[in-house]
Amino acid sequence: MPNQALGQLGDALLFAAVVVYALAMLGFAGEQASRKARRAVTAVRAESKVLLGAGGPPVLVPEETVTVERPSRAGRFALALTLCGWFIHVTSLVIRGFAAHRVPWGNMYEFSSAAALVAVTFFLVLVARGTVERGLGAFVMLPVVLYLGLAASVLYTAAGPLVPALNSYWIKIHVAAAVTASGSFLLSGVVALLYLLRSRYDDRLADRQQPRFPVSLGAQLPPAAVLDRVSYSIIAFAFPVWTFAVIAGAIWAESAWGRYWGWDPKETWSFITWVLYAGYLHARATAGWKGRKAAWVAVAAAGALIIDYYVVNIFVVGLHSYA
């Protein structure tokens, strides 16, 4: 029988993790704000350079090269908080698993929590490897906090056993892969949106317009090329994992329902998601589709993923409506 007290401890820890993440988000935002003040100065300097280069095309000095960053205390503190939140988050999932005597990804609440954990993990890895600046944290932690908050309030399910169809070792494999891919895809969707924002910001500057909110947020973001590359590498990682998850799901369906594929709504949306990500990978290799169009495909694919998990589970009747 599930251990209710332990289950409640797991829930409390998840709540704590969300609070810590929210604080981290504020820290990252604080760091950005103090940087913005310094940037205002550099922007003026850049403007004067443009005037000097009269005749030729305006040369905007990339701000990153001008600003000399002092390691900000707020930023480092925020990163430490994120790490703390991550540990609490991991603990909450482990405890949940012990409370329910099974892997902690058996319903939508647990699934969302695990997917968010994957996204945060990925972000921390990218920062540790120096692929992105930690400043991106403000933009990453906001959706994570919202997503977890939504999961814990709307999708909440007490720790309990699984319905018989889910009681298979394939669930561990299939859902673990699906969680990993989904968390990564959701992160890549956020990064793709940030890319779109930043590239619009760059366009405005190139047209010598003053970007307005929210495009003005682009100033806080890494260069467009970096965002583009990051969202690609996340998808390149997640796509084979998703492919494997869908295949493992088919093998599981074969042993549970007697057919490996039946166009159940859940299967259909997994397929749509898969095809859209295949489309993204193609788009990046096709002239005329690189860049912004490809980023829109990545956003659409993440949208299909969200439909797959939330809209289908809640509103569409099918074999998968178990949670």
């Binding site: 018989p164 007697g258 039946g262 859209l276």
Partner: protein
Amino acid sequence: MTIQSDEEASRLSTQPKPVGQTRRGDPLGPLRMGWRQLTSMRTALLLLFLLALASVPGGFLPQRRLNPLRVTQYIGTHQTLGPLMDRLYLFDVFSSPWFSAIYLLLFISLVGCLLPRTRLHLRAMRTKPPKVPRSVAKLPVSDRWETTQSTDEVMARAKASLRGWRLVRRDHELSAERGYLRETGNLVFHVSLVVLLIGIALGAFGGFKGTVLVVDGKGFSNTIASYDDLQPGRRFSPSSLVPFSVQLDAFEATYAPDGKALTFDAHVHWARLGGVSKAYDVRVNHPLVVGAAKTYLIGHGYAPHIVVRDSTGQVVDDRLVPCLPQTPEFLSTCVIKEPNTTGQQFGFRAFFTPTTITDAEGRVGSSFPGLKNPVLTLTAFVGDLGVDGGTPQSVYSLDTTAMKRVDTQAHALLPGQTYRLPGGASLTYVDTQQWATFQVTQDPGKIVALIAAVGMVGGLLLSLFVRRRRLWVRVGVAEGGPTTVEVGGLARTDAERFADEFAGIVTQMRTTTVRE
């Protein structure tokens, strides 16, 4: 000429070139153009998007293959739009002509794209890495230094630093390439997609799926006649049915206190034709496998045991009546028809409730799926059942147009109790057994699809994580002067990682070069 080879040097994939103009005056021009258009990246991309878009209605609307009842309901509630949507195949999306057209075009495009790419790749694997481009300095990464060593010494050092690369030396030039597996993986992935489609087609043509409902103590055999519902493939031959039979000894379910199902077990005995019978426990995720046939447990419910006597006291019916569950708590409905009586025909509409509750208005319901307090509630009818006219009737519905209701009140029976009709006939509810539905499938394409799936994942991993890259070294010897070494490189993906790798190789070349 040089431009040509420079272009060749930078081509690191077999990706089709963008479609350009054909030569004028070519009689096959438009055809050739059309084919190149169909097999271009742009068309593949478009068809992929169309495929995703075409699947969307299938992800929201009820589909006939999955749930015919809900399709009928949907059309019923959408009187005007429903039939129109039906004519547009919106309830049969995945077998619709437009969906088929899209995926067939996509696969034609895929095959048309794969053939030349495979040829190109096979050639690339046999040919030597291309010549050093005219201007090494213009490559994405490059370096240049001077040394006192001879050309041969420099070459030897360079070769030593490029272990694992495919190398070719042409006089004072060295060309290196590695990461061919990327393209191999990409081709394996795309070929696997075609194989997957073949596997699916094999199943759809030669496979079969049959469902049968069995009450405790009864059984079925794997023959076409014994299935309640049969979905044979278009080329399915009954002779490929694996001969075996299954008997359901007892079905067993357990539930958590909140009514959530915990376990389902169908305890069966099965035997091949003429073979000894063996016990097996068919569970969800634990099918019975006999040769190519797999038997799954896909549903269950209650079957009250009833005994019916006619007015003379003669037993006219003694069997288990399967009741179909209507709610998660297994409020179930069934129909009992008695056409073979001496007097008037009679029939019953029945509610079965495993854990019975009665609300304030006397309505019966069930509060739990397990068997705690079973009640069989009957409404009796006498008259003509309409079963003799020859039109087939469902055993789950009672046509009461030519019948008269016996009582104004429904009659509730506990196990062991008897309902006596005015004419003297009676129905006894003896006890409660269960039924299970089994689905038997044979899918000859399954193994092909599985092989394709392995190929897809393997191919993808190679294709996304192996990096294809080229590196060139040119050694210039000036009369009397120092030797100049120019190194340049080009990578198809992940330019940043390649820049690091390149810097590492150059450092190695330079340090080993300078050490003497």
